[in-house]
């Protein structure tokens, strides 16, 4: 594959006495889409939050564009601007319209003129079919629309990599597809993405690489064809059969 965008070396993270990540190694190339699967509590969310520097790691390295961003004392702001994170329950700002949600961070972190930021934002809304929802407040939008606004909000910072933390898990089944469509669109444009998900069908269809997390470790990493049809680990087989049975 091409250029390595993000490299995780021996990542460890504990909350109190509980070790949540027990040595994660992972390399993601530019334009690659990696899906993280595994049961709740396996460490998927924590891993994404660590990459976005929302949680400091205890040990290891996070190398982004050839530079270790996990160094203590490093200013996390400019790094976070290049690494977008979308949450399971959207976390839109309820007191702002969709457009204001999207424009806030670009306005405060770049010195571009307001008009340019606004037209950039409007273009993103139009692209993801939200042009008529820009002036709505989050509580006036459906879950699927809220999540798409949250994705637009992260994209407005023009990130080089996007992290998605179970972005369809809080949605009604009929709203999941509209969010997955956004992900497919980003994939086609060559966005580098890491996706924690329970949508096995989507992972099989869209991912380049699938990682099975269990108890804070990547126990299996393979192409979706390999991992879903012929997993090497018994734990992966057990997890997949329980997920697919639902």
């Amino acid at each position: 594959m091409s250029l390595v965008k993000l490299q995780l070396n021996n990542l460890h993270k504990s909350f109190g006495d509980i070790e949540v990540l027990k040595g994660i190694d992972l390399s993601i190339s530019e334009g690659e889409m990696v899906c993280l699967i595994g049961s709740s509590g396996s460490g998927k969310s924590t891993l994404l939050r660590c990459i976005n520097l929302l949680e400091p790691i205890d040990q290891g390295e996070i190398v982004f564009n050839g530079r270790d961003i996990s160094e203590p004392g490093l200013n996390p702001q400019p790094v976070r601007q290049k690494i977008g994170l979308v949450f399971q329950s959207f976390h839109l700002f309820p007191h702002m319209t969709a457009l204001e949600n999207v424009m806030l961070a670009p306005k405060r972190t770049s010195n571009k003129p307001r008009d340019e930021i606004r037209s950039d934002a409007e273009r993103l809304f139009a692209k993801f079919g939200l042009a008529d929802r820009m002036e709505h407040y989050p509580d006036q939008l459906s879950g699927g629309q809220q999540q798409r606004v949250a994705i637009v909000r992260a994209l407005a910072m023009k990130p080089q990599i996007m992290l998605f933390d179970e972005v369809t898990s809080a949605l009604d089944p009929e709203l999941i597809e509209e969010v997955l469509d956004v992900l497919r669109q980003l994939r086609r444009q060559g966005m580098t993405m890491i996706l924690a998900t329970h949508e096995i069908g989507f992972a099989r269809e869209a991912a380049d690489t699938v990682c099975m997390l269990d108890n804070g470790k990547i126990i299996e990493k393979a192409s979706p064809e390999k991992l879903f049809s012929d997993p090497s680990e018994a734990r992966t087989r057990q997890f997949l059969s329980s997920v697919l049975k639902r």
Partner: protein, 273 residues
């Protein structure tokens, strides 16, 4: 089906009518009892002439109303100072960085002191103490130092209310702000504070009502506001009616304000559930 539902509606209407009738009757009986019984007490005539004397009420009311303007003025210029100081102290107490530790401690000591001392004591200490330093003319005014005492006390309470609002905004909102690359200060200013301040509007409305009443405490250090004016009339006319007049004027302001605060609170409860 149709028939049963009309029967139910009729029943509920009847129940409601019955409820209103009982409430009206019981209130009327209570009022009637008070009207009949109170004038039969041995001291009623004296109390009536010295507390509820309509001649004196009419005579003193205009000057009471005029003195009340002083209360309103003190109230109005205290407000922005309380809002700003309260906000600054709330923010000081929210600082988590080690370098800001002294600021945080200062905020805690401040709120502990000014919430721990009775308002009237703060007013005495500042209102008599500082002019006692012998400062030149505008700087020895009881209006000034009385206002300062109110501002110091009330901003301690308002700071705690704002802080509770800040803490009520879910941590995930800060996380969302930070994940976009916003600074801590911007996250507080644009994401946390607007939500926090909205939530504490009803609580702060109650503080406004309390402040409106506590302005009267400044009468003890000099300003001729409504309570002091009523006291002057009382001494001249040897009659307590002016105090009743002052109470009526306060009620005319505080009752609507309290109702409005309750309305806001109820509205907020409805919106959240």
């Amino acid at each position: 089906m149709e028939k049963r539902s009309t029967a139910r509606i009729a029943f509920e209407k009847k129940q409601k009518r019955k409820g209103v009738a009982i409430a009206t009757l019981s209130s009327a009986l209570l009022i009637l009892a008070l009207i009949i019984l109170i004038p039969r007490t041995p001291g009623w005539e004296k109390v009536q002439s010295s507390f509820f004397n309509s001649d004196i009420l009419i005579k003193t009311f205009p000057s009471l109303l005029k003195a009340f303007l002083v209360d309103i003025a003190i109230f109005l210029w205290s407000l922005p100072a309380i809002a700003i100081l309260g906000l600054l102290i709330a923010l000081a107490r929210d600082q988590k960085a080690p370098a800001m530790f002294p600021l945080r401690i200062l905020g805690i000591v401040y709120t502990d002191i000014f919430r721990g001392v009775p308002v009237i004591l703060t007013i005495f200490l500042i209102g008599f103490g500082i002019p006692g330093l012998g400062l030149p003319r505008p700087w020895n005014s009881p209006y000034l130092w009385g206002t300062v005492a109110l501002v110091l006390t009330y901003s301690a309470y308002v700071a705690e209310i704002i802080r509770s609002g800040i803490e009520s905004v879910h941590e995930s909102q800060r996380g969302a702000g930070k994940s976009l690359g916003l600074s801590e200060a911007d996250t507080m200013r644009f994401i946390v504070l607007p939500q926090a301040l909205r939530r504490v509007v009803p609580a702060n409305m109650n503080m406004l009502v309390a402040l409106q009443k506590d302005v009267a405490l400044l009468s003890f250090i000099g300003p001729v506001e409504i309570l002091r004016q009523a006291g002057v009339h009382k001494s001249l006319m040897a009659n307590f009616t002016p105090y009743v007049g002052a109470a009526l004027i306060f009620l005319a302001v505080t009752v609507p304000a309290t109702r409005y605060a309750d309305y806001l609170l109820a509205k907020q409860h409805r919106e959240r559930s």
